[in-house]
Subunit: 465 residues, 2 copies
Amino acid sequence: MITIHFKNQGQSLYEEIYEFIKNEIRLGNLKFNEKLPSKRGLAAHLAVSVNTIDSAYGQLVAEGYVKAIPKKGFFVCQIDAYLHGDEPIAADVKPLKIKENKKIKIDFSPNAIERNLFPYDTFRKIFKSTFNEYDLNLLKKPPIQGDLDLRKSLVKLLYRSRGVTCFEDQIIIGAGTDNLLQILGLIWGRDKGFVFENPVYLKAYKIVENMGNKVIPIDIDKKGIRIEPLKNLSNIAIYVTPSHQFPLGISMPIDRRIKLLNFSNKDEATYIIEDDYDSEFRYNEKPLPSLQSIDKNGRVIYIGTFSKSIAPSIRISYMVLPEPLLKIYLEICDEISSPVSSLEQKMIAEFIASGHFEKHVNKMRKVYKEKRMFLMDTLNQLKEKIAVTGENAGHHLLVQLKTGMTEEDMCERALKLGVKVYPISTYFINGVPEKYESMVLLGYGSLAYEEIDEGISILKKAWGI
Amino acid sequence: MITIHFKNQGQSLYEEIYEFIKNEIRLGNLKFNEKLPSKRGLAAHLAVSVNTIDSAYGQLVAEGYVKAIPKKGFFVCQIDAYLHGDEPIAADVKPLKIKENKKIKIDFSPNAIERNLFPYDTFRKIFKSTFNEYDLNLLKKPPIQGDLDLRKSLVKLLYRSRGVTCFEDQIIIGAGTDNLLQILGLIWGRDKGFVFENPVYLKAYKIVENMGNKVIPIDIDKKGIRIEPLKNLSNIAIYVTPSHQFPLGISMPIDRRIKLLNFSNKDEATYIIEDDYDSEFRYNEKPLPSLQSIDKNGRVIYIGTFSKSIAPSIRISYMVLPEPLLKIYLEICDEISSPVSSLEQKMIAEFIASGHFEKHVNKMRKVYKEKRMFLMDTLNQLKEKIAVTGENAGHHLLVQLKTGMTEEDMCERALKLGVKVYPISTYFINGVPEKYESMVLLGYGSLAYEEIDEGISILKKAWGI
């Protein structure tokens, strides 16, 4: 008979009985096919209720330690010895290196935004109006392609702001550009290739390389991606950032755009992926038209995000698919789930539909334009020592030191004095060409005027100029 | 000289001038290298300010139609003819088929939840406390592995509720199970294989198949995945749902668990993926321990989501990586971005940390238990015509018709009368074995008692039982 000294420490009686018998079986003290005491018998022996024993035996049966044979009783199941080697050394796990060095006083990050002007109140109101018991779709799995209201809002927004013409059915909502490229990979198949402009937003390149597709980097010249090296390629999707090349900041002029569009029209399996990542922020009079808006052959896959226009914390992106690709998507989309939560899609849909998005972007365009002018003016005082490049757009510009210091030195010396600048080399696929040596990115999105001022003073010291 | 009849319809003067010259260049009326009028000359001719011409010329230069040569003037650039074939027939795009047939009166979906008891007020409070100007991280790109607070909350929750032992550094936050499998694919590489229990959550299978990894389906018997067919395999990750096999509802007993763990320990590149998708909802006394909690060799990759416990609209999932895989992840994670927005991660972190999550799950467990009992009681009246299977857990059970009607007929006849049931065949990788014929899933998560009652009455009619 089983004897248990109840400890009564947080566990219920049935749990103690269950644990005891489970351990006896694990230790081999109760052997295969051995019969357990009857429920009544054990209950009387331990002075507990039959219900308690019932619960304990029930759990043992559910977990498979014990088998109930009707009219015969409860028997121990056959359980192999659990083989194990050394205990895994989980404590050895090193935390993910935190990228933000705490000693950084001024961070010229090209990806940061101005946080003080975020429309908190608007979002609070939108949350209130969006999150309620009466929207029965709020708790449902979001539609695979994305929330219909969000896609409808985007159709109008993209037409007004970028000349993009599409139907809501052509839009796919994803969780960031990387995620959209993964979805595109499913549509595209692994047998077809991708071309990436070089230098490039390297995560996009890596995601595609990791999918196993053939990936071809093609250098850019002063007008953007070169057309000549494309000539012998077919069955490719060509990833470009024509509005504002990332990271070099070039805008692709109309002659190169037309050459690229004409090239993409040469066969039926060549497409252009237009990543229009920060097109909202162009500081001369008119934004450049998107490639999609001048494409009459349906060869452009248009991609955008809210990272710059709302916040990098919002992981929502959108992709406009040309018809042939959309057809493939609709065939395979059953195999995909939407990666973006419903509430968030609905909030952003309302932010756009209510006109607040465009209002916010217009406000921020002025803010960033002025910051950029301030940074340019500050840098212009150094123009004998440095060259400044990058179109009048976006959240960063490029500084090249004429005094011949290596890029690595430039970054390290700045960091020692508490200023972080971003090396151009990390955006090149196979090493930096000579003409881009000694070049770093200076982002100004999140910085105050005084910080820009102080940052440049420190860089002057760090670089000895 | 250029002559423009200004229309003044919504466009500014500079835009009209810009559009006019752009079109003249596109049409070939202004030819390569042709010199544009001087800014002053054109301004005088059109009786507008020089600033207006400056803006128009500026935009033409920015877009690459015109080149400014210092001290010489503005010249037309060389632009190829834009070749295009037939206009793309975007209007032909068919909308994504909407899966929810409007004629469905009662939907026995296995994925739906009880929406009336969702803690709206709690989430409103959490939004208020989470979304504010003082959290400087709220607008930043979320950490690649996921929000630290959320990972810390999960460490405690998973230990308390599932016996899972891990550090927050071992947890990766993803956007759904599919997304985590994509991340795992990057860690795992394409040269290694995946085993899937069959039948299975088919999206998981498809995602992995689409990644290009070798995928091996292995049938399950009454204890879960069979061990014998694994014997000759190595370098594999074995995807299982031991707590509550999806869709068959089997719980893997301890002897099979130990056999599986022992198998996974045979080499250093074999792992078990434990998808613990609805383990919160087990209706006998104690939940079954997770496989991860009894694994002493670090061979289990633990995966979970909030689809059932909070709502399917929340696209947040988590994965606990054993140390060797975590090391690979940390090497490649620079190539990934977090797919989940910061606000949402912070809200769920707070929902867990405040104890509301467990309170909610405890409440819902009772609700689903009673619904299940009600459905069981209703079905028991038909037990001569049908067999009911599935553990006392989750949000669905399985009904097999003894009268020999095909599964397709069962579904179609029910649908004609407005009741949707879910065929088991859609979960099998290569066709349904005979013993699972005439079987459908009945989910009860979202249904009221009266709906369950009415639904079963209709099914009786539809199936002639």
